[in-house]
């Protein structure tokens, strides 16, 4: 099976938590992108900026903020701890870090695809008696679905590449919170070049696959 157990474990852990994070943010991302693309509301530009912040801020800074929010000494962390939920230094921390870091990419991509849906079609659907919910699911989503899938793929690949925020919030614990990126860093530090290159190959292959698919979807989407 080519790879060692450890390599398999790291790869599968990264992919499954990355996938879970993409699934987790998808409904929120779609809802928010729709609000950005179709509605005007007070403080919209402020919210837009906040959502985009993780895209431009140093990931380590974002990680530090998350650590302050979810750490056991914060009110939220305390409240969660009392209910037996601990975020920091386990896979849930990885999930949160990945989700927060990839959220802006998802929102931007989905927002663009919503904006490309002709609002006239939604208006006409309304005159035909369709409820806002039916318009959303029968007209808007199907017309934007390629952008949504592409955005989700993009978010997924960004999640796989996450490093700075993850290492602060979840640490770099082999077998518990170690993702592909963290493991590569670890192996290089330890001088285990062969293991590092194996993981490097896996990340390149995955990234290529996702970006290529998402670009292909976006191009096909525009032709529609």
């Amino acid at each position: 099976m080519f790879f060692s157990f450890e390599t398999w474990h790291i790869t599968l852990f990264s992919i499954s938590v990355g996938f879970a994070s993409a699934l987790l943010i998808l409904p929120f991302g779609i809802a928010l992108a729709w609000l950005f693309a179709r509605k005007e509301w007070p403080l919209k530009s402020v919210v837009e900026t906040i959502v985009l912040l993780p895209l431009v801020m140093p990931p380590v800074s974002t990680g530090l903020i998350l650590l302050k929010i979810f750490g056991r000494r914060s009110p939220l962390g305390q409240w969660l701890y009392e209910r037996g939920i601990e975020i920091v230094f386990n896979w849930k921390g990885v999930l949160i870090a990945m989700s927060v870091m990839s959220f802006p990419l998802l929102v931007r991509s989905v927002r663009t695809s919503f904006a490309e849906v002709n609002p006239r079609l939604e208006q006409i659907a309304a005159t035909l008696g369709a409820s806002p919910l039916r318009i959303f699911f029968v007209v808007t989503i199907p017309l934007a679905y390629k952008g949504i899938v592409a955005g989700a793929l993009l978010a997924f690949s960004r999640a796989l590449g996450e490093f700075g925020a993850t290492i602060l919030l979840a640490g770099n614990i082999p077998g518990r919170t170690q993702t592909l990126s963290l493991a590569i860093y670890n192996y290089v530090q330890l001088g285990k070049d062969a293991e590092a290159y194996t993981l490097l190959g896996i990340t390149v292959a995955l990234a290529f696959l996702f970006v290529w698919t998402s670009e292909w979807l976006l191009r096909a989407g525009r032709k529609l």
Binding site: N118, R120, L121, Q123, I124, A125, A126, T127, L128, G129, A130, S131, V139, P142, L143, L224
Partner: protein
């Protein structure tokens, strides 16, 4: 139907106050006069600053009484200019999109998919994706979709504007069939005179957001006010006529007006007794006080002047000659011929000046 609304637009306010009760009401005016805006406002797709919209006894909007029904509760079928078919659905699913509404209402039983498809001749298209039909077909599909939502009012936004001339001639009869088959009042927006006259029985004449004139088509479009407002605009006479016979070699057909006039019009291959619309510009009608002789014009119609409207240096001479004609001549011609209401007159019209619509 009562329309009374004020809508602020970029360059001007759209300000309308009209009450009418017609099968087909045409909203006529040049581009940019606020026609589409008006339709959007009726459908509830655009905010109205103040006013009331009432349709068939139902109040759709009233700023005073704080009523503003959302578009989906207005029961208005809207066929926008570009058709706006859902590109991801088949023709059939497009047509049935609004068909679930009021499926048990009395109106529903009168409107069936099969019937609508038959009237609009779109049954062969049903299984196709929307991307594989032509522009004219798309318009008919959009029309079918609106009709099958069983609306109490149909709004048509220049359904012919996006089509080339050849297709236009083919879709006009469909619109007339929709008017006659389904008892749904229509409001029809256009900047094309012949469409107005061929379909409508009431006209709202709009310019830069204001209602310039309203009334039966011929009267509204040739009203002195309309002419004063746009002296350069074409003035058209259009008549519903019956074909009598055709002579291909002579290049002409004979048509009978309901008022009794017999006209020579350019050759058409239609069957005798079939209905057709013919039009002639008010500028292409000559007036003569004596019957002219030795002249190539095919139509010399004796009649009587019923009214003369002077608009600046133009004169609109209305003549009853087995049909209500309006001829536009110079004010000088009226005084030279001593024309006045009640005077006998001959209308001289070239066969080829008539257009078949």
């Amino acid at each position: 139907m009562r329309l009374c609304c004020r809508i602020p637009l970029a360059g001007f306010d759209l300000d309308i106050d009209a009450a009418f009760d017609a099968r087909v009401t045409a909203v006529f005016g040049p581009s940019g006069s606020g026609k589409t805006t008006l339709l959007d406002a009726i459908a509830g797709l655009r905010p109205i600053a103040a006013g009331e919209i009432e349709c068939g006894g139902r109040m759709l909007f009233s700023s005073a009484r704080k009523i503003a029904l959302p578009p989906r509760r207005r029961h208005i079928g809207y066929v926008p200019q570009e058709g706006a078919l859902f590109p991801h659905l088949s023709v059939r699913r497009n047509i049935l999109f609004g068909a679930g509404r009021d499926a048990r209402s009395p109106a529903a039983s009168a409107i069936h998919l099969d019937h609508v498809c038959e009237v609009l001749e779109i049954a062969p298209l049903l299984a196709r994706p929307v991307s594989e039909i032509s522009g004219g077909e798309a318009q008919r599909v959009a029309l079918a979709r609106a009709i099958l939502s069983r609306p109490q009012l149909l709004l048509l936004d220049e359904p012919l504007a996006a089509l080339d001339v050849g297709l236009k001639e083919k879709i006009l009869p469909y619109l007339a069939r929709v008017r006659d088959e389904f008892a749904i009042p229509m409001i029809y927006v256009t900047h094309n005179v012949t469409e107005v006259l061929a379909l409508a029985d009431w006209v709202l004449l709009l310019r830069a957001g204001r209602l310039v004139a309203q009334g039966p088509p011929q009267a509204a479009l040739t009203s002195a006010r309309a002419v004063r407002d746009a002296p350069e605009e074409q003035l058209e006479n259009v008549f519903a006529a019956t074909l009598i016979d055709s002579d291909r070699r002579a290049g002409r057909s004979r048509a009978l007006l309901p008022g009794g006039a017999e006209l020579f019009v350019p050759f058409t291959a239609g069957a005798p007794q079939s209905a057709l619309h013919v039009g002639v510009s008010a500028d292409d009608i000559l007036l003569a006080t004596r019957r002219p002789e030795g002249i190539s014009a095919g139509n010399i119609l004796p009649g009587m002047v019923t009214a003369i409207d002077l608009v600046d240096d133009q004169a609109l001479v209305r003549v009853e000659a087995g049909g209500e004609f309006c001829a536009r001549v110079t004010a000088g011609a009226v005084s030279r011929l001593s024309l006045a209401a009640g005077a006998p007159v001959f209308l001289v019209i070239k066969t080829r000046s008539f257009r078949l619509l």
